[in-house]
């Protein structure tokens, strides 16, 4: 008897909880619902955190990088990644990680220069050390770096050094700025083009729609890489790095807008038939008001989702082009430019850390894909 009673109480409590949650769902805004839904996608959450981290690195590249990415020293050509230690020779534990000094010796047999740890010298790694002076965003002079060595004569290469003895970690950090922003700028241009053209196509329909759809089909049927290669090869060599950067992003978005236009058109077509659009028109709202106030908010989330899914393509395209030597060129630093060095197979064989910028590319692309997937699911909070 008691058990039954308790059972009943439980059911009542459960129902109340359900009702409460139901009410919470009923009064929640669309963005609230989307966030709840997005939160369930664990990979998307983790990836979102990674993206935030990557963009903060891009924003504060000068501060995060321990060295000037252009500072070269042939003494350190292909120096291997420096190992961080916690326990020293004597077996003492250091809470603050440290590196040993770097010494070079010639292999008596092959006469090749080898790098070795000089265990007599210990350099602790510190936060906020003074290092090479820089100008943050070209505005603020500073010389503090996130981490580094205090001693001026010591060096450490977290991810090794390249052909000219430049610190690869610092270069990847600076590359983040270019590579991650190419995606954003490119997708921004695609967005404007896509929303305009897709909107016109979907809203008016008819002959305009057919023409635009054929155009999109045509653009999508050309293999993009050969075409991009041709177009970026035509970018004049004497242009300044900034102009080349913009030229390349514009080229990327000239093809990238098509998928955006498709999404917008599809949404427009679907929404045009919705009752609330008809209702708005009937009460006398203007066409522009209907589009901006009623239609756009209801597909904004879809656009954001497909924007996110469009960025990795841009990043990959820029990386591929720069890798081939047709995109951005040194002294500009992007992940693709860095990967150019790994075209030399012999160098990669002896110093495989040259492939590390590729890891950054994969990380960024995967993170964008997962966040995009999560957003796409969340964009339709009512779908089960």
């Amino acid at each position: 008897m008691a058990a039954e009673e308790r059972q009943e109480q439980l059911v009542v409590a459960e129902r109340a909880a359900l009702r409460e949650e139901g009410e919470r769902v009923f009064v929640a805004s669309q963005w609230q619902l989307m966030w709840w839904r997005f939160r369930k996608h664990k990979m998307a959450l983790v990836s979102g955190a990674i993206l935030i981290l990557l963009y903060s690195v891009a924003l504060f590249a000068e501060f995060v990088a321990p060295y000037d990415p252009h500072k070269y020293d042939v003494k350190f050509t292909y120096a291997p990644p420096t190992r961080l230690h916690f326990i020293d020779e004597a077996g003492r534990f250091h809470l603050r990680p440290f590196v040993y000094g770097l010494k070079q010796e010639r292999d008596p047999k092959t006469m090749k220069m080898l790098f070795a740890e000089d265990r007599t010298k210990i350099y602790p790694l510190r936060f906020f050390v003074r290092g090479a002076p820089y100008k943050l965003w070209g505005l603020f002079s500073a010389d503090r770096h996130l981490f580094g060595l205090e001693e001026k004569d010591a060096v450490f290469f977290l991810l090794g050094a390249d052909r000219m003895g430049r610190d690869l970690f610092s270069r990847i950090v600076y590359g983040t700025r270019i590579s991650m922003s190419v995606g954003l700028v490119g997708i921004g241009i695609s967005l404007v083009l896509g929303v305009l053209i897709g909107g016109v196509s979907g809203y008016y329909g008819g002959a305009i729609d057919t023409v635009i759809q054929r155009l999109i089909e045509f653009i999508r049927s050309i293999p993009t890489i050969p075409l991009w290669m041709a177009l970026s090869a035509a970018v004049p060599k004497e242009w300044s790095p900034l102009r080349v950067y913009f030229a390349i992003t514009v080229l990327l978005s000239l093809i990238g807008w098509t998928s955006m236009a498709r999404v917008v058109r599809g949404r427009f077509l679907a929404l045009r038939e919705e009752d609330f659009v008809m209702a708005a028109l009937l009460v006398g709202a203007s066409e522009l008001r209907v589009i901006l106030r009623h239609m756009v908010p209801s597909f904004l989330s879809h656009i954001i989702a497909s924007l996110t899914l469009g960025i990795p393509g841009m990043i990959l395209a820029e990386t591929s082009l720069s890798f081939l030597g047709l995109g951005l060129r040194p002294p500009v630093i992007s992940w693709g430019v860095l990967l150019q060095e790994s075209q030399n197979l012999r160098a990669v064989a002896t110093s495989p850390w040259l492939l590390l910028p590729g890891v950054a590319v994969v990380l960024a692309v995967l993170a964008f894909n997962f966040v995009g997937d999560g957003l796409r699911d969340a964009a339709d909070p009512y779908a089960r």
């Binding site: 054929r214 089909e217 045509f218 999508r220 049927s221 050309i222 293999p223 993009t224 890489i225 050969p226 075409l227 290669m229 041709a230 177009l231 090869a233 035509a234 004049p236 990795p312 990959l316 990386t319 591929s320 890798f323 081939l324 030597g325 047709l326 990967l339 790994s342 075209q343 197979l345 990669v348 064989a349 495989p352 492939l355 590729g358 590319v361 994969v362 692309v365 995967l366 894909n369």
Partner: protein
């Protein structure tokens, strides 16, 4: 069906025309007149510039005529198998491209078939064994496969081959067959080298195929007719292959159309990394030295290849699924 094919053919002709415009634009892109540049390099290298030869070249490509005449001249030549003249190689373009294009087609289509077969098998496995360990492993692999650019996979494979097996896994032929004329031995030798580009190219495409096949088949498997068939006592294997797999195959076929541009993209880049004797290295080099007739011919042929491939997959799809023929009126 015939009407559908005719309409698609008409559309293809239009698209091909647009592609020729793009390729022609590529020829015209570099600033200045390439013949002048050619004469300048000749003069710089100490060669005497033959005025008469220059004049004849000028006439041949219609450099003194308006742009549309140049286009007509060029397209007329292309239709007769004359793709222009490569100033970088000092040879007619048509002598340079065909063997490379043939190898490109060979690599791309073997990659397409590889992608299809592997994607199909793994897709069916993943759907029928949903949430099993195998399913999770394949899903993880396909996610990573989608995220890694092909040239990076190629680089890593090259590095592994060089470092651990002390072998150069690039190229399509062994040393002794490199310049040899085609023979059975050369063909077998090519097959031995083909697997590296196939895997590199296949990983990205296969990943997409697996996801599509898995999603489609899962949708089908939930439908009532599957339960009915099962209740009637149909053997699982028979049941699976007879209906759901066949229906799930439709979107699979249509993806072949869009997989092709991706494969050609990938093939172009990885052939540079793996130094395959396909279009990639030659196209890259042509663009670097502004050998525009050669570059434009490659772009024209690669695009044409994609468009024809898409057409074939469209027709195949219409033949498989009659609904498409009528829906696209």
């Amino acid at each position: 069906m015939l009407e559908f094919i005719v309409r698609r053919l008409g559309l293809m002709v239009l698209t091909l025309f647009a592609v020729t415009l793009v390729a022609f634009a590529v020829i015209e892109l570099p600033p200045g007149d390439y013949l002048t540049a050619y004469a300048a390099t000749l003069a710089a290298s100490g060669d005497t510039v033959d005025k008469e030869q220059l004049e004849s070249l000028k006439r041949r490509f219609g450099l003194d005529q308006p742009m549309y005449m140049r286009y007509l001249k060029w397209i007329w030549g292309v239709l007769h198998g004359d793709f222009g003249y490569s100033f970088g190689w000092n040879k007619p373009v048509s002598e340079l491209i065909w063997e490379r294009m043939a190898l490109t087609v060979a690599v791309t289509f073997s990659a397409l078939i590889f992608t299809w077969v592997v994607g199909f098998l793994i897709g069916v496995y993943s759907a029928t064994h949903q949430y099993s360990a195998g399913d999770y492993i394949f899903t993880a692999i396909s996610f990573i496969g989608l995220g890694i650019p092909e040239f990076l996979i190629a680089l890593v494979l090259m590095w592994v081959g060089y470092r651990y097996f002390n072998a150069n896994i690039g190229g399509l032929f062994s040393q002794e067959y490199q310049t040899a004329p085609w023979s059975w031995g050369k063909f077998v030798d090519m097959l031995k080298h083909l697997w590296v580009p196939l895997i590199v190219l296949g990983v990205g495409g296969t990943a997409g195929m697996i996801r599509i096949m898995r999603a489609n088949l899962l949708d089908e498997l939930r439908k009532p007719y599957v339960i009915t068939a099962r209740a009637k006592g149909l053997r699982e294997r028979h049941l699976l292959l007879k209906y759901p797999v066949r229906i799930a195959l439709n979107p699979f076929v249509s993806t072949a159309g869009w997989a092709l541009p991706g494969l050609i993209n990938g093939a172009t880049i990885i052939s540079v990394v793996l130094s395959l004797p396909t279009n990639g290295p030659l196209l890259l080099n042509a663009l670097m030295v502004q050998d525009m007739y050669l570059a434009a011919s490659f772009i024209l042929l690669l695009s044409a290849l994609t468009i024809i491939g898409t057409l074939i997959s469209d027709i195949l799809l219409a033949w498989l699924d009659p609904r498409i023929r009528y829906a696209r009126r």
